[in-house]
Structures are given as C-alpha cells and as structure tokens.
C-alpha cells in the first residue's frame, strides 16, 4: 500500500490539477445563471437586510456604521460557505453518489492532484462570490479604502482553508446525512460567532479565545482591516494563521481520501 501511495506522492503534476479544475469549470458554465444567485443575489440580500435594516437600529460599531462593519465579514463569510459547500457536499456527491473519483483515479491522476484540484475549485468559487459581493458592497459605499481590494486575497485564502476542511469532512463522512453536521455544527457557529455580525470582544470572557481560534475569525479580521484601510500586525497574523490552516487541511484531506479510496 505504501509503495503504491508513494508513487502518487512523489510528483504533483499541475497539468492534472488544472484538468480537475477544468472539469468543474465546464460543469459550472452550464448552470451559471442559477449559480449566480448563490454567488451574488443571496449574500447581497443578507448584506442589505443586516447592514441597512438591523444597522439602523444598531448605529455604530467600532467607530464605523454597522453596514460598514458587517460588509467585509459577510463577504468572507460567504466565501467560506461556498468553498465549504463545494468541497464537502459537492465532493461527497461526486465521490460517493456518482463515483466520479473512481473514474478520475483510473486515469493517470494521483490523489494529491485530485484533492488540489477540488480545493482549487472551492477557492475559485470563494473568489467569485468575494469579487461579486465586494463589488456590491463598494457600490453601496461600504468599502472605505482602496486597500479593500485586499479582501479579494483574503477571500481566496478563505476558500483554500474551507475547501481543504470541506474535503476533509467529505472524506470521513459515512453518509450524506452525517455530512449535514458540517453545516449545522461547523459552518453556522463560525458564521455567527466568528466576528461577522459583532466584534468577538463582546463575547463572554471564556468564549472570546475560542472564537479567536475559529478559522473564520482571522478571515473576518483581515477582511475588515483591508476594507477599512487599517492594516496592522493583527491582520498580518490573521493571514499567516489562515495560510497555516490551508497548509494543514490539504494534506489532511489527501490522507483521508487515500484511506477511503485506495482499498
């Protein structure tokens, strides 16, 4: 087993990663109109309802209007949802229901290449929604600094982290049913307690460090820093933490996929 596995680990062919990515792009092109609702319409509705609706009641948070406060978090929070959904539910469906991974792995493609292609596509989806919602937020006047373009970078990084995490969960989930836990127990808590809607400082003392360690929190921190033009050491640390998580989940997902598929 190790010898066969080693032959796949030895060389990572970018050509094959691109081929996996192209599979997703080809499938995506077919349904882009429907996809655009998830990429743009839904998050913008949330942004408007929360930013302007609730924002009017809230007033200012951290010296900015609530809409300005919440916009970057909604951008990267949405990037998380897209990458997580694509690489957990989407990947599980491809692997288990349709056995597409079996077809791909009967061709000269290795598991690390397959995983890299999946995560790259998850990050691409995160990028698409980041750009779309960021542009909408900018049009609403909610992005105060040209540094705001940096949110795109944070969106990609968020996609890589949650793509890897999603693929890891897909590779260990026994059933589609159990996979819903990824959304109820992972996605939702991160989205609501990761600093998107209120500063993590306002959580009870013992919860604050927990919230800070959660993988969406640094993304929100960095995105907010870029959007408001205040990029400091904290944002740099946040980005390094995200990069570390991305580098952790990729080999973890690859390892579990191999255990599941190479039997």
């Amino acid at each position: 087993m190790t010898t066969l596995a080693a032959s796949g680990r030895a060389d990572l062919r970018i050509r094959n990663v691109v081929a996996i990515w192209m599979r997703h792009f080809t499938a995506f092109k077919k349904g882009y109109l429907i996809e655009s609702t998830g990429i743009l319409v839904e998050p913008v509705l949330i942004l408007m309802a929360v930013g302007f609706g609730i924002g009017r009641l809230v007033g200012e948070v951290s010296d900015v209007s609530y809409a300005v406060f919440v916009a970057p978090g909604i951008v990267v929070g949405n990037a998380m949802w897209h990458a997580l959904f694509e690489c957990s539910w989407g990947a599980f469906r491809r692997m288990q229901l349709h056995r597409i991974y079996d077809s791909i792995l009967s061709a000269p493609v290795s598991i690390p290449e397959l995983a890299a292609g999946e995560i790259a596509w998850g990050a691409t989806r995160a990028l698409m929604t980041t750009v779309a919602v960021l542009a909408a937020a900018a049009a609403f006047g909610l992005i105060e600094s040209p540094w705001g373009l940096g949110v795109v970078f944070v969106g990609i990084l968020t996609g890589l982290v949650f793509g890897g995490m999603g693929l890891f969960f897909a590779s260990i989930a026994p059933t589609t049913h159990s996979l819903t836990l990824v959304f109820t127990l992972v996605g939702t808590p991160l989205f609501f307690f990761g600093g998107v809607f209120f500063p993590v400082e306002s959580l009870p003392g013992f919860l604050e460090p927990v919230a800070r360690a959660m993988p969406l929190t640094p993304a929100v921190q960095a995105a907010r820093g870029f959007a408001t033009g205040s990029v400091g050491l904290r944002e740099v640390y946040s980005i390094l933490y995200l990069a570390l998580l991305a580098m952790l989940f990729y080999p973890l997902a690859t390892w579990r996929l191999r255990r599941r598929l190479v039997i």
């Binding site: 087993m1 010898t3 066969l4 596995a5 032959s7 796949g8 050509r15 094959n16 081929a19 192209m22 599979r23 080809t26 499938a27 077919k30 349904g31 491809r94 349709h98 056995r99 597409i100 079996d102 077809s103 791909i104 792995l105 009967s106 061709a107 000269p108 493609v109 290795s110 190479v262 039997i263």
Partner: protein, 307 residues
C-alpha cells in the same frame, strides 16, 4: 496469431482485506491482442483482480505487471496505458455526454481541438452521436454503458479492462456492445473483461479463467473448459421420483455432477465425453451439447451467492 509476450503477468497475486482473502495467490497471463475473460460468481474476486490490474487497488502480495511495468512502482504509467470500464459507470451527471469524454481525455493530456475531434470520432463509433449534447441522466442504461466504454477509448489505449460491461443491459444493447468489442479486438486491442454471461464469454473470449473464492478453478479456451468440465454433452434424465435416489447415488459414485432440477436430473459429461447413464430406459434420457454455463456450474456449484 504470432505468440506474443504477456501484457499482464500475475504471479501468486494476493489481496486480503483484514482477515478476508479476496484473491488467493492466483497466477495468470493476459497475452497481447487477446480477449481474456474472468468468470466467477459474485464475490469470487473478479473485481478485486481487475482493480489491481488497473492500479486502483494495491495487491497485498505477489507479482503483477502490466505492459512490462510493475504495479507497485509504475501505477501512473500503467493507468496511462490502460482504458478502464468499472462496474459502476462513474459518469458525470453535471456534464453532457460529449463533455464527459472531453473532460476525461484531459487526464491523459489530450485536450483542445484534438480532444473534441476524438470525442466525435468515439461517439460515432459507439453510435452515440445523436446523444452528444444530452445530459447523462437522460440516457438509458445501455447508452450510459456505451458512453462509459467510449470514455475508456478516448486516449486510444491498446488495452482495456472491462468489469461486467454488459450487466443489466437489455439483449439489444448487450449485443451492440459485443459487436463493438469484437471490432476493437479486430483492431488489435487487448481486452480483459469479467462477465456473468456465459454466452458473452464463449463468443468473445480467446481464453478465460473461472475463479471462485479467490482461486482459479479452470483456465483455457472456452471450448477447452467446456470439454474438460462439462464434457461434450449433458444428459437430462426424467425418472420417477422413486428411481431417482439410487440413480443419483450411482452417478455421483462414478464421479459425475448430478443436479436435481425437480422435474429432471441434469448430468454433465466430463473430459470431452458425454455422461454414461446405465439402468435407465433410453427414452427417458435426452442429450444436449454442453455449454460454458454447464462447466461454470459444475465448477462453482449451485448454491446462491451474495447471501
């Protein structure tokens, strides 16, 4: 045909899953240009053997080489060499039939215009041109299977591995697949396939092995296997219920496999002969030519599997 070096060489090939032995140290060759059949009941080890050949599943022990390449060290090169049709189609429901082919070809480095041209060529050969733009989910089982086989030929492999290519197809689709495989065989493609259809194996395979419980029970041309294990003819004997038992006892004693069908006893011949039945009125015995199915049942028994 000029005798050629084997394309697949398996020596003492073994696959274990924890304590379960799926493939029990089997030795066989597949020669260049031939159609090689793997026959056996469900759970016999056919799929496991083919997955090892396709470098999808690593052997536990033993030697296995494909096209002169060791499966332990050259997994990628072997997968590049082979076309593979797994038991499950593994088609992509998010892509059209044609895009299924084009997307798959990219994994072999075939892309752009040449990939599109090849897809159209393969669709044409498998009679799928009219379905090129269809969603895979809208195709019938037979069309899906043909598309799966078509996909395996995108990169022009000189050998294909087919795991039950016709299971679940109606007779029309099945015959269509057989015709297409025969054309590919004529073109020199080496084929290794598993099947439950004995007539399929008898018609297509140059050589075959019958495996059960992970072991090879018989090996040879379909004709050789039939003659050796079911003889030239099979006797169907209609006797009164009372006369059955002594007859079964005496035939069994003389080494024949006797099956009580309820209405009749079925006795296969062996070693090229027809069974010799004594003490029964000749009018109660009829003979028919033995088939591969007779040999298969004689070798693997009649108890149901998958239970």
């Amino acid at each position: 045909m000029i005798p050629t070096a084997p394309v697949v060489r398996a020596v003492q090939l073994e696959k274990r899953y924890r304590k379960m032995v799926a493939v029990d140290r089997i030795t066989f060759d597949v020669r260049a240009g031939e159609t090689f059949g793997l026959l056996g009941p469900n759970g016999a080890g056919k799929t496991t053997t083919m997955r090892m050949m396709a470098c999808i599943s690593p052997p536990t022990s033993g030697e296995l080489s494909v096209n002169g390449l060791d499966v332990y060290r050259h997994s990628r090169a072997i997968r590049d060499f082979l076309g593979v049709v797994a038991q499950h189609d593994g088609l992509d429901p998010d892509l059209s039939a044609r895009n299924n082919l084009i997307v798959h070809a990219r994994y072999y480095g075939l892309l752009g215009k040449p990939a599109e041209a090849r897809a159209d060529e393969v669709l044409e050969f498998f009679g799928l041109t009219a379905k090129a733009g269809d969603d895979v989910d809208n195709l019938s089982g037979g069309l899906k299977r043909r598309l799966t086989i078509a996909r395996a030929f995108m990169h022009r492999p000189r050998m294909v591995i087919l795991d039950e290519p016709t299971t679940g197809l109606d007779p029309q689709s099945r015959n269509r697949v057989w015709e297409q495989l025969a054309v590919l065989k004529q073109a020199g493609v080496t084929i290794a396939m598993s099947t439950h259809y004995m007539e399929e194996a008898a018609a297509l395979c140059d050589r075959l092995v019958i495996i059960d419980h992970g072991r090879i029970l018989a090996e040879g041309t379909p004709g050789e296997v039939v003659h050796r294990f079911a003889g030239s003819e099979t006797a169907i004997i209609r006797v009164e219920p009372g006369a059955r038992e002594p007859l079964v006892a005496s035939m069994t004693q003389r080494g024949y496999h006797v099956y009580d069908h309820g209405t009749a006893l079925v006795v296969h011949g062996r070693d090229g002969d027809r069974p010799v039945v004594d003490g029964v009125d000749a009018t109660r015995i009829s003979y028919r030519t033995s088939t591969l199915e007779d040999a298969f049942l004689a070798l693997t028994g009649r108890e149901l599997r998958d239970e």
